[in-house]
Subunit: 226 residues, 2 copies
């Protein structure tokens, strides 16, 4: 066991070093970067499709898409008018900073306002890898059940914002909003919970408000002398 | 990089060695072992609850529950009459054979007919770790979307059976059964797809039939001279 621990530390710190370089580049380019995490099928891609439709005319958006296989998600985003670069991780359960560094070569960062990084669908591994992002968003969905925050506390704890998608299925799924809110408060007391439905569009304006306000906050922080 | 590869191999083979020991013990005890994998909230625990209600009077069942945190799932199963032992993996994204070896100390294996191992909710990592099981089941659910088999091909490829849960939400989720079946055929051509709903009970008898038939097949195979 003793041989494995230093090595894991070394791998993590190499990721952190690359992520810090990414963060510097994102800051210089004045592009706001959001790292999205969720279970498979919670609706990260749908959220980005709807975001592109509503915000694409006002802000220059792009996305890096992480999946084990296929470029289905990048294709969906391109159809929604969002330039997207697919990363296939094979058996990898998360994106790392080296993969993101390679992927962003496809974009002129200085011409972008917001870059979304859609992580591999997984509520465990992605939380351990910083990618230079300004904000982390965990997308949860009502059919997954209301107890996910306490069963996957590391991901939720690291979230700056929790999006609860598929509100149109809240009753059919037997989902308790009260329980979910209590569980989120327990592991991520400061994260707002944005309840919405990508299918019906309900609640999406709250998400767009959060996104644009957080972008402004990040830009203000970056330009405030220390 | 070259330093990392042999080490990973070593870790994996240590797991395989322990898993092989588990498989021998399971065989000697004549207990049929099923390893269940899925995304968070696809319905593994619900499937076991319903299985216990319907099969618990005929067969002696038990379960090992894998979660990052909480013993909520083990508690649910105990309420359904299924003896369950919880393993908390902390930040671990899958169960390993050492954890299962520790957990099964709680059971008299020879007195059991079926032992379920409910893995951590994750469609990536658990597929890489053999736990000595006779069969692997991947539980998918309609709200996750019909393209999960091609986006998480490693897990589906390793499945002996694919359970498609939440069939009561198939229309509300805009899920294409035809697409799902085609995708499963692509990555797991021999795995049957069992369409059911733990909420309504529809289709559960097909799952029970599969389970009991596979148990008989495994026992016959174990007792056939080579």
């Amino acid at each position: 066991m003793t041989r494995r621990i230093p090595l894991e530390k070394k791998v993590l710190s190499e990721n952190d070093r690359l992520a810090a370089e990414l963060a510097l580049r994102f800051g210089e380019a004045d592009v706001f970067v959001v790292n999205l995490m969720s279970s498979p099928g919670a609706g990260k891609t749908s959220l980005l499709e709807e975001t592109a439709k509503r915000l694409g005319s006002r802000l220059s958006l792009a996305a890096v898409e992480g999946d084990l296989a296929t470029d289905r998600d990048a294709e969906r985003l391109r159809k929604a008018g969002l330039p997207a670069r697919q990363i296939n991780t094979g058996r990898g359960c998360h994106l790392n900073a080296a993969q993101v560094t390679e992927a962003v070569v496809a974009f002129d960062l200085a011409a972008l306002d917001v870059l979304f990084i859609e992580n591999v669908g997984n509520l465990v591994c992605p939380a351990a890898f910083y990618l230079g992002e300004h904000r982390r968003v965990v997308v949860s969905s009502t059919p997954e059940g209301d107890d996910k925050p306490v069963k996957y506390p590391v991901a939720f704890h690291s979230a700056d914002c929790v999006v609860l998608n598929k509100m149109d299925l809240v009753e059919a799924a037997g989902f308790s909003l009260e329980a979910f809110r209590r569980f989120v408060r327990g592991v991520a007391p400061r994260a707002p919970i944005l309840e919405l439905s990508c299918r019906t569009g309900a609640g999406l304006e709250t998400w767009l408000d959060w996104l644009t306000a957080e972008r402004e906050a990040a830009r203000t922080a970056a330009h405030t002398p220390e």
